[in-house]
């Protein structure tokens, strides 16, 4: 089933052969990329090797590889300081990349005329307070070269779309945060763009407003535009994004549809009723005997993060190993977890357990939520602690 999804998008290479437990090793997914030229028609954004070293020697982006399909809502997810805004600003030519290969709307990154076809809502934007909402929409459209007649026609429509029709003639200085955000979205659409780049569009907006913004995004997508969205709010992305990328400390940890990202992390949990006198060792022996599974010795310390954040899959507790058929397995007290999406693959294990006279209490297929993936991505595999916010300073501990 997971394979089927992958086959549907063969060029994307989102599915990685990453270990199910523990974070994904970055940089693997890009191997064997097909010729990029043949793809330019399909991708709204196609980035390779985007690097940014700020003047203060902050290495904010370290070789970003990312593709956004035309017509989709793409979410860029990452903790504060991951480099999301930095990436967006490079796309919008607000900052210069240290290195950037790739295209946006078929033109190389940094190509100014292309920006007429891109709408942008910056993070922490401050519109001139002396402008009214309508003037904001018109002003930025005019800067992109939209003629007066078109501006006059589009502005009321856009204000209507974002629910600001009655406020269009009031000064921005008197707007609430949520209203500014709405006007900002209207402004981003002022040029009738093919691609809309929104940096934290729901920042500072109340839950009702967020829902409305999500609906706006869906409408924008229905108009045939590509939406590139930037957020640290997971639930938001889960609800609207077709595909997401998880950015941590300047690197893309994983990307794909939420389905793909979660399905490949699916785990079957087999819970036995009671452990025998040998405890966990008995369980391991049963697996090793009948299954020829290779279990690694030693117990991994319980990860504090796992229990605290309610992550039920990334708990690094118990004994890990590999089944003869290749699946990763983990034995944790009375639970055996097998990383697979294929129910058939767990049958030999069930047989082995039953053969050793264990009573199977439950078998569950467990899929991580986006939040689980996110927490996993931001967890340092060595310490089990969440990676600190922000990029590391160059020359500091690597």
């Amino acid at each position: 089933m997971g394979m089927g999804l992958v086959a549907a998008a063969p060029k994307e290479r989102q599915v990685e052969s990453a270990p199910a437990f523990g974070p994904v090793t970055p940089g693997e997914w890009g191997a064997g990329a097909p010729s990029h030229r043949s793809e330019t028609g399909e991708w709204a954004i196609d980035l390779r090797n985007v690097d940014k070293m700020y003047r203060g020697k902050v290495h904010a982006l370290r070789g970003i590889e990312m593709r956004v399909k035309k017509g989709e809502v793409f979410g860029l997810l990452g903790p504060n300081g991951a480099g999301k805004s930095t990436l967006v600003k490079i796309l919008m030519t607000v900052i210069a990349p240290t290195r950037a290969e790739g295209t946006m709307l078929g033109q190389p990154v940094g190509h100014k005329p292309t920006l007429a076809r891109v709408g942008y809502l910056p993070e922490h934007h401050k519109f001139p307070e002396y402008l009214t909402g309508a003037q904001v929409v018109e002003f930025y459209a005019a800067l992109a070269g939209v003629d007066r007649a078109t501006r006059k026609k589009r502005t009321p429509e856009l204000l209507e779309l974002v629910g600001m029709k009655d406020w269009g003639n009031k000064k921005v200085g008197g707007y609430s945060k949520g209203m500014r955000q709405r006007v900002g979205i209207a402004q981003a659409l002022g040029t009738n763009p093919d691609l809309v780049v929104l940096d934290e569009p729901t920042d500072g907006v109340d839950p009702v407003g967020r829902r409305e913004i999500r609906e706006m995004l869906t409408r924008i997508k229905e108009e045939g535009r590509t939406v590139f969205l930037n957020s640290h709010l997971l639930s938001e992305l889960e609800m609207v994004c077709d595909r997401v990328a998880i950015l941590v400390q300047g690197k893309v940890k994983s990307q794909g549809t939420i389905e793909e990202l979660t399905v490949k992390r699916q785990v079957y949990e087999i819970e036995v009723a009671a452990l025998g006198a040998d405890g966990v060792e008995g369980l391991v022996a049963a697996l090793e005997g009948k299954q020829a599974a290779r279990m690694l010795a030693g117990r991994v310390e319980a990860a504090p993060l796992g229990s605290a954040a309610g992550v039920n899959i990334a708990k690094r507790v118990g004994i890990r190993g590999q089944l003869a058929s290749g699946e990763e397995v983990e034995v944790d007290h009375g639970t055996v977890r097998i990383a697979t999406v294929d129910a058939e693959r767990i049958q030999p294990t069930l047989d082995a357990l039953r053969g050793a006279a264990y009573v199977i209490k439950s078998v569950k297929a467990n899929r991580p939520s986006l939040e689980d993936l996110f927490m996993e991505a931001v967890t340092d595999p060595e310490t089990g602690k969440a990676l600190g916010p922000g990029a590391k300073k160059e020359g500091g501990a690597k």
């Binding site: 700020y54 003047r55 600003k89 919008m92 030519t93 607000v94 900052i95 210069a96 100014k112 005329p113 292309t114 920006l115 007429a116 891109v118 942008y120 910056p122 922490h124 934007h125 401050k126 519109f127 001139p128 307070e129 002396y130 402008l131 003037q135 002003f139 930025y140 005019a142 800067l143 992109a144 070269g145 939209v146 003629d147 007066r148 402004q187």
Partner: protein, 403 residues
């Protein structure tokens, strides 16, 4: 074009929201009204319909015709005082914020993300600042043109020369203001540092004038002393020769040809007229002084060549207007030469403290002559070059910055 117009409109809205643009315009208007209220008739100066004073009979419509009065007020007060100082400071205050508010975080990202190159963005913003100053100057000048025409009955299109020259003058300062505003992103810093730079330019200008003045004073002294030394020498030589002749002819028989006296030895001349030695010493001193001042003046001129010439740009305007409008300048050409013996000592003039009005008038003439030698192209060209360099630096800073 759409985008340029949008930027201009935005700059207008920005200035409009700060009210200062209008305040400046209102003050300009009041000054013009006051200008129009002043008049002159047979009895003297009037304000509206009140007779004020005739300044002891020196200022009536007979001595100063109304046209002359208005023109000279415009050129002496309107330009030199209001446009070059008051209005420029107000224009700086009202436009200093344009660039800082433009590059403010949160506001600049959207503008940069538009399909306009950064150089064009920056230069357009800079031009907007100048444009609104131009409007101010134009309104004021036009109003003054009307006052001179209606009240002075003299239509003088040359007053409009004030618009380009004052704007050029302002643009030197505004380029500095724009660069500082861009680098510091602070209106206050841009304003204060620009005023400081302006003051610095004023000092350089002052230093230059002082150096030239002292050099010319020293040169005048050298010339005077040279003449005086020559005079003394002649006088001493005559004295010495008479002495020599009386000494050498008393024994000669009558009718014998008079022997020509030999060239007198310098030491004996000095002995004959003791002040000659003093004059020689003073001459040597002044020659040394002139040399030193020449060095300083050259350094000052060199420094000025690379800096904008604010003072001289305005002087250029005032001078041109005086010429065009046939106003009496401050230079009259009355050369007087009084060759008076016996040799009194040459008066050495001091640039700072000239007691002799005749000497100081001559000195002033020489100094003015020196400044007149500076061509329009030197004054405007090198200043505009300075401005171009500042703008180029600002463009580079703007293009390279990560916002």
């Amino acid at each position: 074009m759409t985008s340029t117009w949008a930027l201009v409109l935005d700059a207008y809205r920005d200035l409009n929201s700060k009210k200062l643009f209008w305040i400046t315009l209102v003050i300009s208007g009041l000054i013009v009204l006051a200008f129009a209220a002043i008049g002159v008739n047979e009895q003297g100066v009037t304000l509206l319909h009140w007779q004020i004073s005739d300044f002891g009979g020196t200022v009536t419509s007979d001595t100063i015709p109304p046209a002359m009065l208005y023109k000279s007020i415009f050129s002496n007060f309107g330009i030199a005082f209001w446009l070059a100082w008051g209005a420029s400071i107000l224009a700086l205050i009202s436009t200093a914020g344009l660039i800082p508010s433009f590059v403010q975080g949160g506001a600049v990202e959207l503008v940069l993300s538009k399909p306009i190159t950064r150089v064009r963005l920056f230069l357009t913003k800079f031009a907007c600042g100048l444009l609104f100053t131009t409007l101010q100057v134009a309104v004021f000048t036009f109003a003054c043109f009307l006052v001179i025409g209606l009240r002075g009955k003299s239509w003088e299109p040359s007053v409009f020369l004030a618009i380009p020259l004052v704007v050029i003058f302002f643009s030197y300062l505004y380029s500095i203001c724009a660069l500082i505003g861009l680098v510091t992103r602070s209106t206050i810093a841009a304003l204060l540092l620009t005023l400081l730079a302006w003051f610095g330019l004023f000092l350089v200008n002052f230093g230059d004038a002082a150096m030239i003045g002292m050099r010319e004073a020293a040169k005048t002294n050298v010339e005077n002393l040279e003449k005086s030394v020559a005079r003394h020498e002649r006088f001493a030589t005559r004295q010495w020769e008479q002495l020599w002749l009386t000494r050498n002819t008393k024994d000669l028989p009558d009718g014998a040809p008079k022997p020509t006296p030999p060239k007198p030895p310098v030491a004996e001349l000095d002995e004959a007229v003791p002040t000659l030695r003093d004059e020689r010493r003073k001459l040597a001193e002044q020659q040394q002084m002139a040399q030193r001042m020449e060095l300083f003046a050259t350094a000052a001129v060199g420094l000025k060549t690379v800096l904008p010439k604010t003072g001289e740009t305005i002087d250029l305007l005032s001078r041109t207007l005086r010429d065009r409008m046939n106003l009496p300048g401050d230079d009259s050409d009355t050369e007087t030469s009084n060759e008076s013996q016996p040799p009194d000592q040459a008066r050495t003039v001091n640039f700072w403290n000239q007691r002799d009005p005749e000497e100081s008038r001559k000195l002033q003439q020489r100094i003015d002559g020196e400044f007149k030698k500076r061509s329009v192209w030197w004054v405007l060209g090198t200043s505009l070059l300075f401005e171009a360099v500042i703008l180029a630096i600002a463009c580079i800073v703007f293009v390279r910055r990560d916002f």
